[in-house]
């Protein structure tokens, strides 16, 4: 930011005499960082609620059912879903599109993680191209990022569909119908009950991955707008620069970062 000297009086300089950006960051970039911090608090709130809900239930390996087996390994191999204990995530999330019936634990979610990290890499390459004012490269890398985001959303949609539809055998649950508790076989999941484990399991899955997916969706829209602006040559004009690409890049990396945490706490722990 240029600091123009006045003609009549000598201008004071120093940190507190105006004309300086706090932290040497532009207004937009600083505000994006503050927004990301507040959004991190929102996600942390959800993850903290998940932590309490998850650990107040019995984990599978500590349950009565699992304790009858000789070793942890055997208990894992003989896992059966029940609402008496929190399930082992890799036994639930073991489906892959077009490979119906095959058990591929965590492969699909691993693919989703890889896609999102790749899209983060292409985003940072777009930012780097913006530093060099290379408009063609910025457009190219932003298109790859948008594609990665849309692919991730498609994968998440498939994961949700498969989770909601459930397995063929389903599970027996007590359902309140016509004034009494009735044993019914339920399939899949909704916000109040699911065949995989206690009710919070599906509820937390939908809430946390849904909130994250909403952020990915809005990120894709924002990236599309900035891509459009780049293609129009708005940032190439004299006096403008590609800092907007950097700012939306921050948002996109935040989305990736949250996924890293969600993936660890929901699928691995």
């Amino acid at each position: 930011m240029a600091h123009s000297a006045t003609v009549s009086t000598p201008s004071k300089t120093g940190t507190w005499f105006g004309g300086k950006e706090p932290f040497n960051a532009s207004y937009g970039k600083l505000m994006m960082w503050y927004f990301l911090l507040s959004d991190a608090f929102s996600f942390s709130g959800l993850l903290i609620a998940y932590a309490v809900l998850r650990f107040k239930e019995i984990g599978y390996y500590n349950s009565e059912f699992a304790k009858q087996f000789g070793s942890i390994k055997e208990a894992g191999a003989k896992f059966v879903a029940s609402d008496a204990y929190w399930p082992i995530p890799e036994k639930i999330f073991d489906a892959f599109p077009f490979f119906h019936g095959q058990h591929l634990p965590l492969v699909f979610v691993g693919l989703m993680t890889f896609i999102l990290i790749m899209s983060s890499v292409t985003m940072v390459l777009a930012v780097e191209a913006g530093h060099r004012r290379d408009r063609a490269d910025v457009e190219k890398w932003m298109l790859w990022t948008i594609l990665g985001g849309i692919t991730f959303l498609g994968c998440q949609a498939w994961e949700w569909t498969h989770f909601i539809m459930g397995t063929d055998q389903g599970a027996v649950r007590s359902v309140w119908m016509n004034g009494e508790w009735v044993q019914k076989t339920i399939h899949g999941a909704n916000l109040t009950m699911n065949e995989y484990g206690p009710a919070p399991f599906a509820f937390c899955f939908f809430t946390i991955t849904g909130f994250h997916g909403f952020h990915v969706l809005s990120g894709v829209f924002i990236n599309l707008v900035i891509f459009y602006n780049t293609a129009l040559g708005i940032y190439d004009r004299p006096g403008r620069n590609y800092e907007m690409v950097e700012k939306v890049g921050l948002y996109w990396h935040f989305v990736d970062l949250v996924w890293v945490f969600v993936f660890t706490f929901f699928y691995l722990v």
Binding site: M1, L37, I48, A51, K56, G59, I117, V121, R132
Partner: protein, 109 residues
């Protein structure tokens, strides 16, 4: 950071400097692969959970420091982001323990 955008002569396009970007990608890739390996070979338990959390923090550090460029920003901005985040991570850890305590109260008393 605004000065990064003002030093190039008009019309010229510099060569890409992407080595650090790809190096960070490979670090993230290796750490994630290790996480998957542990998920399938190590028996479930507190130690494994702790290792997962640590590896996640390593990945988070690389994404924030390199991809989001925080490592190269003014120290004040770095602390403005890091310090609240560290408090929140402590809070998440504390709530995991709290969940365990609620479990104890429900099942063991």
């Amino acid at each position: 950071m605004a000065n990064v955008y003002e030093n190039l002569p008009a019309g010229e396009v510099a060569k890409p400097q992407t080595k650090v970007i790809w190096r960070t990608f490979w670090i993230l890739f290796v750490v994630t692969s290790l996480e998957f390996l542990l998920a399938f070979t190590m028996p479930a338990g507190t130690l494994r959970t702790l290792i997962f959390v640590l590896m996640t923090l390593v990945k988070a550090f690389y994404i924030v420091a390199e991809f989001m460029h925080l490592k190269h920003e003014v120290k004040g901005l770095v602390y403005a982001i890091l310090v609240p985040t560290i408090f929140v991570i402590w809070l998440i850890g504390a709530m995991f323990i709290e969940g365990g305590s609620i479990y104890d109260l429900i099942h063991n008393f």
